[in-house]
């Protein structure tokens, strides 16, 4: 094979990776909180490695719109165009879900959590294994502190970018939420 063909192939191979490198560069900023290896630096910060791309995109968009309030995230996305948000979402969705050293819930907690999940019909959206898809996040093996804080924020309305979750969570007690967060974190 002539050398020039190899050169063309090599050049072609670089083009897509250049864009990927750009996103990877941007993603280094994300890593300062969400973790270089996917394990968040603080337990109240969510895992985004391996999260569903549609969900990650909509959250970035909602941070930008102010629909989801966050002093930390709002400035990060203030000038971010849709394509870039989508590229970041795709980038993180392709990373492996990290090992948080999960601890399965004890039997009594699991039973209570399953009763809540059945009552709230969580599986209709979060699907088998609570893995979600598209716009619906994976919530299994997510960090306990983040899960509990999120459930509480939905219930109080502090997290306002999914009113349905607010209406739903109002039906459940603190103990229900704690059981659910413990159970999901241990899956």
């Amino acid at each position: 094979m002539p050398t020039w063909i190899l050169v063309v192939f090599a050049a072609l191979a670089v083009i897509p990776s250049a864009r990927a490198d750009g996103i990877a560069e941007k993603a280094t900023l994300c890593a300062s909180c969400h973790g270089e290896n996917g394990v968040p630096v603080d337990p109240k910060i969510p895992v985004i490695w391996g999260q569903n791309a549609g969900y990650l995109y909509v959250e970035l968009r909602d941070f930008k719109r102010g629909a989801r309030a966050s002093e930390m995230m709002a400035p990060m996305v203030a000038d971010m165009p849709r394509d870039e948000m989508m590229a970041l979402a795709e980038y993180f969705s392709k990373k492996p879900w990290p090992n948080l050293g999960r601890k399965p819930a004890d039997a009594a907690t699991a039973e209570r959590a399953q009763a809540v999940a059945n009552s709230a019909q969580c599986s209709q959206c979060h699907l088998a294994g609570f893995l979600g898809a598209s716009l619906v996040p994976r919530v299994s093996d997510q960090g306990f502190d983040y899960l509990l804080a999120t459930l509480e924020a939905f219930r109080s309305g502090a997290r306002a970018n999914n009113v349905w979750m607010t209406d739903l969570m109002k039906a459940y007690s603190d103990e229900d939420m704690k059981a659910l967060a413990t159970y999901l974190a241990g899956l």
């Binding site: 549609g54 909509v58 969705s93 009552s119 019909q121 088998a128 598209s134 716009l135 009113v163 109002k170």
Partner: protein, 577 residues
């Protein structure tokens, strides 16, 4: 030379060319044929599905050509080889495992020994219906954003001519070559980012592919569309939401029960807000039935948006929660009948319509259309003008029905928002005048909370329904005499039922349960005659077919997202030795 492996035969063809030159064409011919045999029909040129075959699908004891059997949607398979006397010997002929272990609602379609099934997330498989061997596999490349309620379901394909038609979660209509699974064309149905999605199977008739839409939980404006089967070009669109959606300000439902509406408040809201038609919902979850003689289709329209909050949508919200008939050729309105005006419970109309001849008010037989509601009633309507002839006895407890939703935690009411009868299609045995429905008993709290339209990619329910954890849930199989509305027999099941049912000329009905049991009942009496444990929820409608003189019953066992039935990835075909 191996006929079954084109790669090997190609290699032989190359050696033949080198050795003899002139044999090349002949050998390549064999190779091409081998390729065809491997991928195509199992019975010569009987791949093509003609309109004549579809017109007579209800009398076809070999094929299962439509989601619900034929254009009347009776799901009545006219083969009696498997019957009440021998069904106890039924056993698996084969089990095919798909790539997708998620909610499974497919209705298998069988054409001359080739079966087409779908899975969650829009995969299609063509299988050898005798062995379960895979012929081809198509996977819809879904984008990052798909918006759908109640699971990433798919209820199956339509077949017509030499094509297989799939409607997808990202709201596309895809035509596949029936022999190869290759895409022939793809058309956009609607914008998925505005909450439109597809889980229903299309219907093929007279060169048209008919399709509705999901999205009643996302503030869409629903429709039924007809596309050209050959080109994918849009032929007509019928909006399931009337431009004037307010209607007659009905205070009672179809059965005369009070809906507790505050008409004065609604009229005041109408003066302030205007007609809510643009975001009023009205999805269509199941195939229309087709009355070929009158060139009309009959379908039911789902709930208004937002589901639980009536404040932003004054009026009857036509044609939500209604039976609707339109002209097959033009898509023009013919008639409608609303079951639950101004629904604030999601007690909508989702199960497929069924065409039968039933007794009219004066006792004479009239062309009728049946629908099983989430309310737990089977409704019998006149096909001529859509008016209600009768409704059945309630198939499930109705407790405080139409009590208005209140602030969280809400008001208790039965049936729950999944029914009664969900999307699950009925079956009909016309020799017994019985319609068979599967039901849920799932007590729920209904709560209401007004919220602004959140954009098409967020659920817009205007409140919440929660299953009451302390109360028992169950289901049932119910046989209703549609000439009298009386329940002929009823069998209780340990869990709420979602899936579908099949009746056969063997005097049987087949249906599955969330706990994995797939059962056969005597269609006359409800006696259980056979059961099989599938290892995962059987929440899909069964189909019947025959190949080489042997009858089979086939069903998907993959569980269900809506009732969280145990997931699996099985397509199971049963037969007798």
């Amino acid at each position: 030379m191996s006929i079954g492996n084109p790669r090997i035969s190609g290699g032989v063809a190359l050696s033949a060319l080198l050795a003899l030159g002139t044999t090349f064409v002949t050998t390549l011919g064999v190779s091409a044929r081998a390729d065809e045999v491997n991928r195509a029909t199992l019975y010569g040129d009987m791949t093509s599905v003609s309109q004549d075959m579809l017109n007579h699908a209800g009398q076809d004891a070999n094929n299962f050509l439509m989601t619900h059997g034929d254009y009347t949607q009776k799901r009545y398979f006219p083969n009696r080889q498997i019957n009440t006397m021998n069904v106890r010997h039924l056993h698996p002929a084969w089990i095919f495992q798909t790539e997708v272990k998620e909610t499974q609602e497919t209705a298998p379609i069988v054409v001359d020994g080739v079966m087409y099934v779908t899975t969650a997330f829009d995969h299609v498989y063509a299988l050898d219906a005798r062995t379960g061997a895979e012929l081809w596999h198509y996977k819809q490349p879904l984008g990052a954003i798909t918006v759908y309620c109640c699971g990433p379901n798919n209820r199956g394909v339509a077949v017509y001519d030499n094509m297989v038609y799939l409607a997808t979660l990202d709201s596309k209509l895809v035509a596949l070559d029936a022999k190869t699974g290759k895409v022939a064309w793809q058309s956009d149905i609607a914008d998925p980012e505005l909450g439109y999605s597809e889980t229903m199977a299309p219907t093929a008739v007279d060169g048209k592919i008919l399709i509705g839409t999901n999205g009643g939980e996302y503030g869409i404006r629903g429709f039924v569309k007809a596309f050209d089967a050959k080109t994918g070009k849009l032929i007509w669109t019928f909006s399931t939401i009337a431009d004037n959606s307010t209607g007659v300000w009905a205070t009672k439902d179809a059965t005369g029960q009070d809906l507790h509406r505050d008409i004065a408040a609604e009229k005041a809201a109408l003066a302030k807000l205007g007609d809510p038609a643009k975001k009023l919902g009205g999805g269509v979850w199941q195939n229309p039935s087709v009355d070929l003689a009158n060139r009309r289709i009959y379908f039911v329209v789902g709930n208004p948006s937002p589901d639980l909050d009536g404040a932003p949508r004054p009026g009857d919200n036509l044609y939500t929660d209604s039976l609707v008939s339109v002209d097959l050729d033009t898509g023009k309105y013919v008639c409608h009948f609303q079951y639950v005006p101004h629904d604030v419970w999601d007690l909508d109309s989702v199960s497929a319509t069924v065409l039968v001849d039933a007794k009219g008010e004066n006792g004479a037989s009239v062309p009728a259309v049946l629908h099983a509601g989430k309310t737990g009633f089977v409704y019998v309507n006149d096909r001529k003008d859509c008016h209600l002839i009768r409704f059945s006895e309630a198939m499930v407890p109705q407790d405080h029905m139409y009590a208005l939703p209140t602030a969280s935690p809400g008001t208790r009411m039965l049936p729950g928002a999944n029914g009664g009868v969900e999307w699950s299609p009925m079956a009909v045995d016309p020799t017994l005048n019985l319609a068979y429905a599967i039901n849920l008993h799932q007590p729920m709290h209904y709560s209401v909370k007004s919220a602004a339209y959140p954009g098409g990619d967020k659920l817009w329910l205007g409140g919440a329904f929660t299953v009451i954890a302390e109360e028992e849930q169950w289901g049932n199989v119910t046989a209703v005499d549609y000439n009298s509305g009386k329940i002929r027999w009823q069998v209780k099941t340990p869990q709420p039922m979602i899936g579908g049912i099949l009746a056969t000329a063997g005097g049987l009905v087949f249906t599955g349960e969330s706990n994995g049991f797939f059962k056969a009942y005597d269609s006359q009496t409800g006696a259980e005659l056979w059961r099989f444990q599938a290892g995962a929820g059987v929440n899909a409608p069964p189909s019947g077919y025959s190949v080489e003189g042997r009858e089979y019953i086939v069903v998907g066992a993959g569980g269900n997202a809506q009732v969280d039935a145990k997931r699996g990835n099985n397509i199971i075909a049963f037969t007798l030795d």
